[in-house]
């Protein structure tokens, strides 16, 4: 019943795949600020969880209890472009609907939507949820050889808090921080970490940048 016609797009598909893999390599090189040859093969990911409390599936490292979870915590392993930790910094983040007040039209929020850190700094995040429902503080785009799926993630249940630590690489970059519960990022729970000079602002961050697609009033 499956018609052969679905394979018609094969040649285009292949080309797009080739193109994407090239641009993929390229963007990875940008993200790590390194030439192509230093990008780690995918196979080195996912082998670093022997000492962790619990494995979170798909190679992720997870600490989980009734309060919530911390995923891919990293207190000790240096990104390979860092010789040492440049500074230890602690950021205290509060999350909840009460922080949406100052940005009309949003419903969820963090008390701050931007953090500035030095390259190679070790960041300890104390994430404090002021709502009665679940929220997340999730960073994307970290090097995958240290952080499965390039992600560091704290999730806490209502009125709970959790602390986790991770180390950023040396490159000047702007990392996305958000809550990935459906519509929480869109409705205000979006922030950024600027490492060094950063790399511009991400769009639609409350108080910082405009959305790509604005509402029509």
């Amino acid at each position: 019943m499956i018609n052969k016609k679905q394979y018609k797009s094969f040649s285009t598909g292949t080309l797009v795949a080739v193109g994407l893999s090239i641009t993929g390599l390229y963007s990875e090189a940008i993200a790590t600020d390194k030439p192509f040859e230093t990008v780690d093969p995918v196979t080195t990911v996912n082998n670093k969880h022997d000492h962790k409390l619990m494995e979170g599936g798909c190679g992720s490292n997870m600490r989980m209890d009734i309060k919530g979870m911390v995923m891919n915590e990293n207190k000790t392993e240096l990104p390979k472009d860092c010789e040492k930790i440049s500074e230890d910094i602690t950021i205290k983040v509060q999350a909840g609907t009460e922080f949406a007040n100052q940005y009309p039209g949003t419903v969820f929020g963090f008390d701050e939507h931007q953090w500035q850190v030095k390259p190679c700094s070790r960041i300890t995040v104390e994430f404090n949820n002021k709502d009665e429902t679940r929220h997340q503080w999730m960073v994307h785009g970290l090097p995958k050889y240290l952080y499965p799926k390039g992600m560091f993630h704290i999730e806490v249940n209502g009125l709970e808090s959790k602390t986790g630590t991770f180390i950023v690489p040396s490159s000047h970059f702007t990392y996305l921080v958000h809550c990935d519960i459906a519509q929480h990022m869109e409705k205000g729970m979006k922030a950024q970490i600027r490492v060094g000079n950063g790399r511009g602002d991400l769009p639609s961050i409350p108080g910082i940048s405009a959305p790509t697609f604005s509402d029509i009033f």
Binding site: M1, I2, N3, K5, Q6, K8, S9, S11, T12, T14, L15, V16, V18, G19, I22, F36, E37, M54, E55, G56, G57, M64, D65, I66, M69, G96, T97, P104, G105, T106, V107, F108, D131, E132, T133, R134, M138, H140, K149, G150, M151, H153, E155, N157, G158, D180, I181, A182, Q183, E186, K187, P203, S204, P211, T212, F213, S214, D215, I216, F217
Partner: protein, 556 residues
């Protein structure tokens, strides 16, 4: 240096390869209207999930359909997230406190205090950063109306991954069926994870108006409860004395919130010893772990939830992001008196996706229980080919034996339920023999998708002798490929095309003469060609770059 050379050679090779692929323009026949045909069964389905499983000492019945429920979820739903191993937990995306089962009060071998946590999720909602909706959920090829649904409290991302905007499989329609045991102490907590206020009303379920502490327990803003605002939670408590197929739904702005998807089945099962229930049936459909009372009479049990969708309502969440504008759009601009439904879903999908998830697979002489629920706003006229089922319960209440009638069309108004007995006894009355017997809405509006037939409320009862690999029925009618394309429901495809050898019913506009005329009048840009061209230019630039670098270094 060597590395540079290598990259240069790779680029050259790619450039040559790409050239051989280039400019293979698709033939301009009528068939070219048929876009990408999705496979009957997606490759992402895990085939092993169809087998019988024994997880956490719970037996999970086989489910031979294309897309079965995750058996690890079933084990968690039966045992409770507090009574399973971490390994099982990690095979689900549930939170540690999604479902806590404790306290065997009557000492009959099953837990009698059940804590259930639900969240409210939005599917196919707006993104201020992307052109397309996010946390996506397709009801049919290419069709993504906005929805709200209750979901078991989950952990981690709502999207499948950072690279994908697809909803994780726990987040879907319909809101999950919930099963509890008669006499159990049930505490249901709604964690309002959505940006609008919501509530839960237990429709037809035995529950007190107030909780012991005097707080409201009926979920109705006008009479019993304050609004549960975003980021807040509310708990409801009930100890149902009566059994039956009942309903739960949001009662805030009920004229839109129910229709947006905040409605599901709430089933109170008869009390039996050692009766470990599958508390959630995500996506409704086949119940892989039925209650003791159901097993006494039936070999299988299915939940069938029917809904209808007015695109104008569901698309509101895709048109803006500002919570004030959204509230105005839902509460003041949308006019339900002008409502006309466009899509019809059975267990969250329209035909042909219903064939992946809502097939009823039966053997001769089997007796199956169907719980049918009309959660839409239109009348449902459910007709079964090849069977005359017997109604055993209306709105959850058991009918006297003489009132248990057999029909071939059962009509349900909004919110009504009927429990049916489907008996594969080939006597010409109960059943007419083996086959692939379709069951569908006989309200003809209900068997379309945006006015295109076949779509909507259509699925099939399939005898096991007619079931092929991957849960695909051994169909012997027309080629169903067109139904698995977006283009079919975008009205681009001549419906009889694949049977139409003599081209009696093709598109008039696409005759050879027309094509030639069009080509003469306009410069045709083929999107494939443009992509190929861009890629080639890109490769060329890289090649030139490395060539230069290489030659510079050679000069040095």
């Amino acid at each position: 240096m060597d590395r540079c050379k290598l990259i240069f050679h790779i680029c050259t090779l790619l450039l040559i390869c790409s050239h051989s692929f280039a400019y293979q323009q698709t033939a301009k026949t009528e068939d070219s209207f048929l876009g990408l045909v999705e496979p009957f069964c997606p490759k992402t389905v895990i085939p092993e999930w169809r087998d019988t499983h024994k997880i956490e000492n719970i037996t999970i019945a086989p489910s031979p359909i294309c897309n079965p429920d995750n058996p690890y979820n079933i084990a968690a739903f039966v045992k409770g997230t507090n009574n399973i191993s971490m390994a099982t937990m990690m095979s689900t995306q549930l939170s540690a406190d999604t479902l806590v089962k404790t306290n065997d009060i009557d000492g009959d071998g099953d837990p009698d205090e059940i804590h259930i946590r639900l969240e409210v999720i939005e599917l196919n909602g707006f993104s201020p950063d992307l052109k397309d909706p996010v946390t996506t959920y397709n009801i049919a090829p290419g069709i993504q109306p906005g929805f709200w649904a209750f979901a078991p409290k989950s952990r981690g991302m709502s999207n499948e991954s950072f690279a994908s905007t697809k909803a994780n499989p726990l987040l879907r329609l319909p809101s999950p069926s919930i099963r509890v045991e008669q006499g159990d102490k049930i505490i249901i907590t709604l964690e309002n994870s959505h940006y609008f206020p919501h509530s839960i009303h237990f429709h037809g379920v035995d529950h007190p108006f107030q909780k012991a502490n005097g707080d409201g327990n009926d979920g109705v803003p006008q009479t019993s409860n304050k609004l549960t605002m975003p980021g807040k939670l509310v708990s409801y408590e009930l100890t149902p004395r009566q059994t039956g197929t009942m309903v739960y739904h949001c009662h805030v702005q009920a004229h839109t919130h129910i229709l947006m998807g905040l409605i599901g089945m709430f089933i109170v099962e008869e009390n039996r010893p050692n009766n470990w229930l599958q508390t959630f049936n995500v996506g409704a459909g086949f119940v892989r772990h039925s209650s003791q009372a159901v097993k006494e009479q039936y070999s299988q049990e299915y939940d069938l939830q029917y809904q209808d969708i007015d695109r104008e309502l569901h698309n509101l969440i895709q048109q803006g992001n500002d919570s004030r504008l959204l509230a105005k759009a839902f509460n003041r601009n949308y006019n339900i008196t002008e409502r006309t439904p466009d899509y019809f879903i059975l267990n969250g999908r329209s035909f042909p996706y219903t064939l992946r998830e809502s097939l009823i697979v039966i053997k001769p002489e089997e007796k199956i229980k169907l719980r049918v629920f009309n959660a839409g706003d239109q009348q449902l006229a459910l007709h079964t080919h090849g069977f005359k089922p017997t109604a055993t319960h209306f709105d959850g209440i058991k009918l006297r034996p003489e009132a248990q009638i057999q029909r071939d069309v059962f009509t349900l108004g909004p919110a009504q339920r009927v429990d049916l007995e489907l008996y594969a006894h080939n006597d010409g009355l109960n059943n007419m023999g083996a086959g692939i017997w379709t069951y569908h809405d006989h309200n003809e509006l209900g068997v379309t998708t945006d006015g295109i037939y076949p779509g909507g409320h259509i699925s099939s009862v399939v005898f096991d002798s007619f079931l092929g690999p991957e849960g695909m029925p051994k169909l012997q009618g027309v080629d169903v490929s067109p139904f698995f394309t977006k283009e079919f429901y975008q009205k681009k495809y001549p419906v009889w095309n694949l049977s139409d050898d003599n081209r009696l019913y093709g598109n008039v506009a696409e005759t050879a003469a027309n094509i030639t005329a069009k080509e003469q009048n306009s410069i045709a840009f083929d999107s494939n060609q443009i992509i190929i061209l861009i890629l080639q230019i890109f490769l060329l630039l890289i090649t030139i770059y490395f060539l230069r670098k290489h030659s510079k270094k050679s000069d040095d």
